[in-house]
Amino acid sequence: MLSYIVRRILQAIPSLIGISIITFILLHIVPGNPVRILLGQHYTPQRAAALAQSLGLNKPLYMQYLIWLWNILHGNLGYSYNYTEPVTYLIAHALPNTLSLVLIATIFAQLFAMLIGTVQAYFENTIADHIITVLNYFFYSMPSFWLGILMVMFFSIQLHWFPSGGVVNPQDPNPGFWDWLHHLILPAATLTLVTLAGYSRYMRSSVRETLLMDYVRTARAKGLRESQVLWRHVLRNSILPQITLFGLSFPALFAGALFIEEIFNYPGMGLLYWNAVGTLDYPVLLGVTMFLGALTIIGNLLADILYSLVDPRISLESMS
């Protein structure tokens, strides 16, 4: 197992370098210039030259890339142009917020998906199945920012149940866990709803396939109660694809949180990235992209490991 993990991590290095090169080139061919943006109304050619020099932007592109790569190898993701803070510091501050949002949303989405998918598969082609399918497609097709606005309008403005934004109440000098949770519920619910549909459709298909398996028929023939068949034999085998999906979709959820963080004024990775796009803050954009790249690779790796743990038929050694 350990050698497999090490090998996978080593295999990830070329991928990450590839991501960094592509991102670096793409960022620099985007129209606009961070120096112009930073100087704005104070732009003069002299100031621009001085600022470009201090940011290292006057060097050839390949040189800028190599310097950046050298720094990253030393654990230095650079300094944000906009915040004049280290990118690692900015990510370290934004990450816990996004992580909590994404984790909670993913866990709830997975749990509900298992429940809904199983119900749909078990009661296939019934009215319940059709209603859930319609609802699923409704939420699946709804843009997250739109759903977020609706949630704010209804639960914050109309009902005053939840705050419309922020991560804690700024008026409270020592906000506690409940205040934090109170602020997290709406954005997490929005992210859960928009991701739930995808998971539950997979779960429905997976449960349907499992229900047709011989071992399910055998279990029933043995006289097991239906609940035992469902829990012991159907569900355990049906959730395997969900694990893969979880690993793969985790980074995508980070990206998906971008709009939700904007709507809910939620200071996570998405908002950090959004602000960096507006000012062409290259170090932040590169740092966040690399982080997400690494997360995708780790997510895949975790999915494989989890897969092997849940399904004894799969051995990572043999896979490798």
Partner: protein, 579 residues
């Protein structure tokens, strides 16, 4: 002087004004309760919304260009007020300044600043003339040509500081004397030169007393660290700062001026206009703004008792015409009659009424009619170029232009060009389309190209490529507390009208910065410049667009006087809240 990223339509637009309020056109706010004398209640948290993507990144009152944002300044001026405060009428307000008065000699070379004696740093040390002199020394060091990064100081050169300064000395603990190398207009120097000065806590910050270079490197490193700014002399102290979240200030009990009755003042980060609107609706923000695109939704706020008020900053908006040699329209735009004709054909009344809901008064010169200040020449009260297509066409024809195939043409040159303008704002687009239609009627054909504002700045400020653009719209100038004369604007190389050069105007501008025997004489020279400039139309004057401020019913004194949209620097210490 600040060139602003002015999306003409948006609340973002008059950037200054996010926090600002103006009474003009909006009527008296119901909750703008008097001047705070009677009935003032203690307590409450004032939550002030920052516009989308505005982060506070710098806390030191001396800034470099990359951090010279209005919102950084709005926060650090609560901690470190300037030596002088320019009020909403654009006059020096000594009651809210650290200076109690400024005297000067007739030649305009020696300035004596008398400081208030009751001001203390929050650690109990007195605020003295030494602190002001030290601030000047830092400004001088950060302005030096070889200043280490992230300097230079962006304000370099304004008001002749430090180039025209011979000495700044503390005559006694409460008197600063500034001697200049050559005489200047006293008002101009007070606004632009002395206006840059503030007191900084030398006793707490002077880590390298014998090495000013090391000191400015050290201060630049601390400038982004909110925890460093513990010793203050302003009305508020910084309690906490969370990037992309909120900045919490609490009153400074040792402040020498008007003390705040608030419990807290919070600068609240807003990711989007929608998030800010929701925060207003839920009460999470009680001093915010309404983007003009959200104007139709105003009733949902007013029904909750919010007051919506327009806020006008002191500046002007324009369409910039490229008059550099090499510009595709050089021959046309360097002709004053063409510029005047184009001005005649802009229907500012329709723009104001139909696009900006009456919150964008027409403007025909470098000094706005709104807000009212002593700098507006009464002779210009009647518009010089009111909308008149017949006159516009007549003027062009009298200048030798002839209509050929629907386009005015002279010596083979057609009045046909592209106008670039900031993308992303509906009302700017609508304004440009209206202008496009009107100009077409006088034989001027334009194509419109929206692009990001930063790109526009990049194109128009690249003087090595004058052929890349013809005209640019949707930007403006805000004077931001500086003397509103035109030396940085309309003299060659100024911010406006690249390529514009008129020796007569240069002389009139020079007169505004020359010594004057009295303020009246100073204003007379100013009006001469203003009138000539308005007539010359170096840029095409366009409507002055307001921001809309939303004030919760329990917020009081949120008036033009205290929110001061004119300069953009609010006196939050006068705002109080009822229970």
């Amino acid at each position: 002087m600040k060139r602003k990223a002015q999306l003409l339509s948006g609340g973002l637009a008059a950037t200054v004004a996010l926090g600002a309020v103006v009474g003009c056109g909006g009527g008296s706010p119901q909750n703008a309760a008097g001047t705070g004398g009677t009935g003032v209640q203690k307590g409450g948290t004032l939550i002030y919304a920052l516009p989308p993507a505005t982060n506070i990144t710098w806390y030191l009152p001396i800034t470099n260009a990359g951090n010279a944002s209005l919102y950084n300044a709005q926060l650090y001026t609560q901690l470190y007020p300037g030596v002088i405060y320019i009020d909403h009428r654009y006059q020096i307000d000594y009651a809210n300044s650290f200076a109690q008065n400024i005297t000067y000699n007739q030649a305009g070379t020696v300035y004596t600043i008398s400081l208030k004696k009751n001001w203390k740093w929050s650690d109990g040390h007195p605020v003295t003339a030494d602190d002001v002199v030290w601030d000047y020394e830092l400004i001088k060091a950060t302005d030096a040509k070889d200043a280490p990064p992230p300097w230079p100081n962006y304000n370099a050169g304004a008001g002749g500081v430090p180039d025209n300064v011979q000495s700044v000395v503390a005559k006694d603990p409460y008197t600063v004397v500034i001697t200049l190398k050559k005489p200047v207009n006293q008002q101009w120097f007070i606004y632009n030169g002395i206006g840059q000065l503030t007191a900084l806590p030398k006793h707490a910050w002077n880590k390298y007393p014998n090495d000013i270079r090391q000191e400015i490197i050290y201060l630049a490193k601390q400038a982004t660290n909110p925890a460093f700014f513990t010793v203050v002399d302003g009305p508020f102290k910084l309690q906490s700062a969370k990037s992309s979240q909120s900045w919490t200030l609490v009153p400074n009990p040792l402040f020498g001026g008007h003390k705040s009755t608030l419990d807290k003042l919070i600068f609240q980060y807003e990711a989007t206009n929608d998030a800010e609107f929701a925060a207003l609706k839920t009460g999470a923000v009680n001093l915010g703004y309404l983007d003009l695109s959200q104007y139709a939704s105003r009733q949902s706020l007013t029904s909750s008792g919010y007051t919506i008020m327009p806020a006008y900053n002191f500046g002007y908006n324009f369409i910039e015409l490229n008059q550099q040699k090499g510009s595709p329209m050089y021959a046309a735009f360097s002709d004053v009659k063409v510029r005047q004709a184009l001005e005649y054909a802009i229907d500012q009344n329709a723009i104001n009424k139909d696009i900006y809901h009456g919150f964008a008064p027409p403007q025909y010169g470098p000094i706005p009619t709104t807000p009212k200040t002593i700098f507006f020449d009464p002779n210009l009260a009647k518009p010089l170029f009111p909308f008149n297509l017949a006159k516009a066409r007549q003027l062009l024809e009298s200048d030798g232009w002839k209509m050929q195939n629907g386009v005015m043409t002279k010596n083979g040159l057609q009045l046909k060009f592209q106008v670039i303008y900031p993308s992303g704002t509906q009302s700017t687009t609508q304004m440009m389309e209206l202008i496009q239609q009107d100009w077409k009627q006088i034989g001027v054909q334009i194509s419109l190209k929206p692009m990001p504002l930063s790109e526009i700045f990049g194109i128009i400020q690249d003087t090595s490529n004058p052929g890349k653009w013809a005209a640019a719209a949707g930007t403006g100038i805000t004077y931001g507390g500086s003397y509103p004369s035109g030396e940085q604007l309309f003299e060659p190389g100024g911010l406006d009208g690249f390529g514009y050069d008129d020796p007569v105007l240069d002389k009139l501008i020079a007169a505004t910065t020359s010594p004057a025997p009295s303020q009246q004489a100073s204003l007379k020279a100013f009006f001469a410049y203003e009138e000539y400039c308005a007539k010359q139309v170096p840029v095409l004057w366009t409507n002055g667009v307001a921001s809309l401020i939303a004030v919760a019913p329990n917020v009081h004194n949120a008036t033009e006087q205290y929110l001061n949209p004119t300069t953009g620097y609010p006196l939050f210490n006068y705002i109080w809240m009822s229970k």
